[in-house]
Symmetry: D2
Subunit: 303 residues, 4 copies
């Protein structure tokens, strides 16, 4: 356990019953440490991942991999050079519903995936650095890279071209940092399939996260805008709550992704979400920003 | 078309482009009339059906068949004697969802039907005679005989014993006429299956009508407490409306049941809901009243 | 009642109890006829509407108004010149769920409409002329002009720019006629709002039609991919059917739109869906085809 | 941590990083232990709880409190005599959906609770002692005492009279031990409200657990027969899975109930589910068995 604030490092270390460090370099020099989990702000990922790789530690890094493509390529080269494993925290791949969607698709349950649709609305924008595109990559990377990753994973093809419509509709503070609050992305996959992602940094009733993949023989639907475990009917009609936000909605997925990472390290296997997956998401997000600025469809530059 | 109020008879007759009568007897003497649809208050059914049967007309009579078992037996004997056809207006049997439930059951999709559950909540009690048990048969007959009919039809066995808990919780005016507003019926089928029906004369959000039949290999569910065609999410959560009340909910079923009756007459076949089905519902309702008064399970007396 | 096939004209006329014609011109010369309902293939609309307008008859014309913008402008000028009313058959505006969505939006229930999303998947392509873009306008006009109309009506702003991704994925026969079977449209409204429409000419389980409008204070959702009136649970899980196709899904809306048209004529008021609404849908569809061919966002040319 | 199998005790102790015991008496003599969690088969509860109480330890005991009323009364007297706290593991009270139901009811959101309905279907009967009524209390106690507890808690009144219909429909092995597999209970509350609980030891698609409480001003619905996080539409229709079984469905509730117990001990407060609540559930279950044997409604004997 490491945190630059000693109080946090100590209390968390004690709570978890593990060693703790204030200094990241010292943690990396600890020979008992095989792997690190980096859950710091995005703009710190590049240096911390590279330092860990240099120290020969395997790395689990929170999504996204890095703020820019260039930083991601730096990470890629160090990780490869040192032969350490790296997994990116796209935890939705470990959620039971998304996993089942992929299984149904792989079993031919929708025919050929032809259209990917994802709608993602958060209750509120992230505080602090998360709303500063120079530190977080902005809405396309910080929020919607989950959906880029799902799109590639579920359709089984790379995203080749994106066209963005977006703007500032709700939060004036996002306009100041250069971020957007409501965006839409229409895109093409290399295999000819179509895709659409819509994201908003606000949802009046909580968290609205839905994905569907269409094929000529069927459709898979993931997510719901309502929690169906409770309803209250009265003279106004029937009222439900929205689904719990990500920390509870994906609680099991967070556990599963870490189990998967540990297993990949122990079994010396490729992690389920690779450094290349992480790079792709950053490339697509950069293409989205370019399309937004140039107001036209642009190719995704793949490295 | 006949109505004892001349204005209604005329305007409806003209609207429908058919002959109209104020006098029921004259209508029955019209040799062009093959069959009559009796949609009058329940307490008028006995005499009107018998008069029609005496005149050799086939009869479609709104549910329930009659207020009492004795009256129903009168109807039965006249109808049989004159050889006319009689169909009772249990239209839910003609609704697509209930029909599909029966089809699934018949195809073995739930194994052996073991438990029948029906919940029926109306927005409000019926006005006028409908809330006077001496004229309508009360909540068991006027409202829940639909569910008795469904239970027999879906489970494929007669109801042999009923136990009732019920009372006056909401409408003081129903207490005065001797009717009840919230009731529960636990019952047994002759084949050993179990059944439960709950009815209430009020539902704050409209119309809550659900039925399910359980077997060891599956369950069929009919109905919903919410209309899933529209939802509004805002800071209070997600709000939907209840399902439309019976006239719109069962619009197609009402059309289908009349088509079925006409076809039975033209093809000289047994109607889908027979005079015996009508009698059974009245017998069960009478048993419910008896159980309510005697506060114990009672046998259904079948004739 | 008019049909060029005498047998159809006669049998329908007799069934409905109305006069019938084989010759459209004779029907238009009938002074008892105040208005006509034109439900012919799209490519016949222009001439038939103009002929009716010339004869001074009010016109209800099935959607879309005409195959091309030029034809629509012809209609517009004749209708205006002769002062007859014209309503276009965008019946979804008369469906209870869509109407309620509009009411909630107008009452401020979602804040400012910021994002329109519509997904429309039909069970199968239309037979005959419906799949020939030169006669039907193709998927954008024949199928998705419903959604263009809803977008304008619900968001309350004109569509100014469209970008299309589409192709032939399923039906080879559509490729031959030049039509498409899976398309996506990302668009902008004049007021800055965003919109997305996805259409497919096939849906494995039936009819999947959903629309949502997002604002910072709420979201309205219309439609569902499942009929919630029946479910069957067995060892495979819980299975439901899709929603009934348009003729039954929108049965009441079809009745309401005609009532509305008759009322507009009798009360001498503007119809709820005007000739200009019809023109706009054709303009947007033409822009979609242009965007598809030119592979870039294009402006909608409004007349 | 204590288990009579040394291997289990040791491995669990090590995994959790806590002391472990094979001998229960030794654990109770450990002065560092303030409270015990008893999660053994029901027939062991009486002696283990009493032994713990004698040792002055607070007790969290899995539901139900004990197999028989007599044993429960023994527990009650020892717990009171020694002044230790006891909480019974009716975890559904700590589930977010049930908690919200209670809150809505307390805030008047349904008016006066008038009808309680609960349907509980398990995927399969419990293995081993769980299906032997002499050790588990049978279906009424082992399975449906959850619902008795909810009924009392949500309606806010004691259950005064029960009438049972039940039998052996599916599992011959249950008939041999004297247990039942499908049962229905119609009951009365002391305040005049009605209640119904239906339980089955089999559900073809998994776990079907729903509760609703009706009042004149509204209804609360808890639970669903389907998991709405994933759907697969294909030519057979739309298919979903059932809800995860209790260990995952109530994962958070299990955590919350233990937190609540710890807090009650630390704050020296009455636990949220008391020994009296535990006793009531056993009394009601015994009344159910009596009603089943005597085939008539019976009073619940409260101590």
């Amino acid at each position: 356990m490491q945190d630059i604030v000693e109080g946090i490092a100590r209390s968390m270390g004690e709570k978890l019953g593990v060693k703790y460090y204030v200094d990241y370099g010292r943690l990396l020099r600890d020979s008992e440490v095989d792997a690190v989990i980096i859950a710091t702000p995005t703009f710190l990922h590049r240096d911390m991942v590279i330092e860990a790789a240099e120290a020969g530690k395997h790395v689990f890094v929170e999504k996204p991999l890095a703020v820019r493509v260039k930083e991601s390529l730096d990470i890629l080269s160090y990780v490869r050079k040192r032969g350490v494993k790296l997994q990116v925290g796209y935890m939705r791949r470990f959620d039971a519903a998304y996993r089942r969607a992929r299984q149904v698709i792989e079993e031919g349950g929708i025919g050929k995936p032809t259209m990917f649709v994802s709608i993602a609305r958060d209750p509120a924008p992230p505080p602090g650095w998360g709303s500063d595109p120079s530190k977080s990559g902005g809405i396309f990377l910080d929020m919607l890279s989950h959906d880029f990753d799902l799109a590639r994973w579920l359709v089984g093809s790379e995203i080749s071209e994106v066209y963005v419509v977006g703007g500032n509709y709700i939060y004036e503070e996002l306009r100041k940092t250069g971020d957007l609050d409501v965006v839409s992305i229409l895109f093409k996959f290399m295999n000819g399939a179509q895709g659409f992602i819509h994201g908003a940094r606000r949802c009046a009733f909580g968290y609205d996260l839905r994905t569907e993949v269409y094929g000529s023989e069927g459709v898979v639907y993931i997510g719901s805008y309502e929690d169906n475990m409770f309803a209250h009917g009265d003279s106004r009609g029937i009222t439900k709550k929205g689904v719990a936000w990500f920390e509870r909605r994906f609680y099991e997925a967070y556990v599963e992704e870490l189990k998967s990472f540990v297993k990949a390290v122990l079994d010396d296997k490729e992690p389920e979400v690779t450094v290349l997956d992480g790079l792709r998401a950053v490339e697509i997000a950069e293409a989205c920003w370019r399309s937004f600025r140039e107001r036209k469809p642009v190719k995704v530059e793949m490295h």
